[in-house]
Amino acid sequence: MDTVRPDALLDLLARAALFRDLGPEALAEVLASAHARRVADGEAVFREGEAAERFCVVAEGRLKLTQLGADGNEVLVRFVGPGEATAALAVFEGAEYPLTAAAVGPTWVLEWARAEVQAMLARHPALAVATVRLLSERLREVQERFRELATERVAQRVARALLRLVRQAGRKVEDGVLIDMPLSRQDLAEMTGTTLYTVSRVLSEWEARGIVASGRERVTVRSPHGLVAIAEDLPEGEVKAKR
């Protein structure tokens, strides 16, 4: 893909949680002030610690948001898919980017400079409300993960991380629900605050029980209920894999 079509972008924005309450004219205006940028696999859109100048929405592909821990280990905070925004908070604070955003596969992003974002928010109250909603959702997500880290077993945290990814990128396939994006065991370890060794042990056990199948950076949930039962601590008496 060498270019992005403007009508496809308008369509994407019209469906995005942040922009869907705007009318067609406002949407066109918002899109007109955006800068489209192509990012190669692994390339960073912005880095942790840099001055936060731009607000960003993924048009195509996916970004991986990571943070460096004190020990130099990476923590995977979340993935950002098409129509989703990132770096909203950084722009309003005029602060530094709190994380690094790198492309997973070839990716297109739309960017707005701080002054443009401020002008858009002033002109379109619906956008300001949607931004507050987005920020509170992110906060809720962080609170949830904090609780998970503080109180839950590793297996439960891995199950919840997979369910979050199902919500973001799940696709029904013949043998279950595929998480339709590249996802390594190392990614899962970084998302759940544990080690590659532990994630491998957990996934191998689940594979043996027919709950998931994994390979080539892809995870398929073969027993949706089996995974939910682990995540929610339900009785697992009737865990069944798809035949």
Partner: protein
């Protein structure tokens, strides 16, 4: 896709069912099923959800139909 279901059926996905009949969520909750709000609701059918919990799908659909046909406003 595109057709609006007229009554609860075991072939609908759980998410379609909840969209069309929000009160179905109470039936699931009453049976101790964790389907309302579940990430898997768009992917599993009512029949699959029932079988996961060892519930007879015919019985569940009957209960869902009864809840769907109850006049609205009569309960909280």
């Amino acid at each position: 896709m595109g057709t609006v279901p007229k009554e609860p059926s075991e072939r609908l996905t759980v998410a379609e069912l909840f969209r069309r009949w929000p009160r179905a969520a109470a039936v699931f909750a009453g049976r101790g099923m964790a389907c309302p709000g579940c990430a898997m609701a768009p992917f599993d059918t009512v029949a699959e959800a029932a079988s996961s919990y060892g519930i007879d799908p015919v019985e569940l659909v009957a209960e869902l139909s009864a809840a769907a046909s109850r006049p609205s406003g009569g309960e909280i």
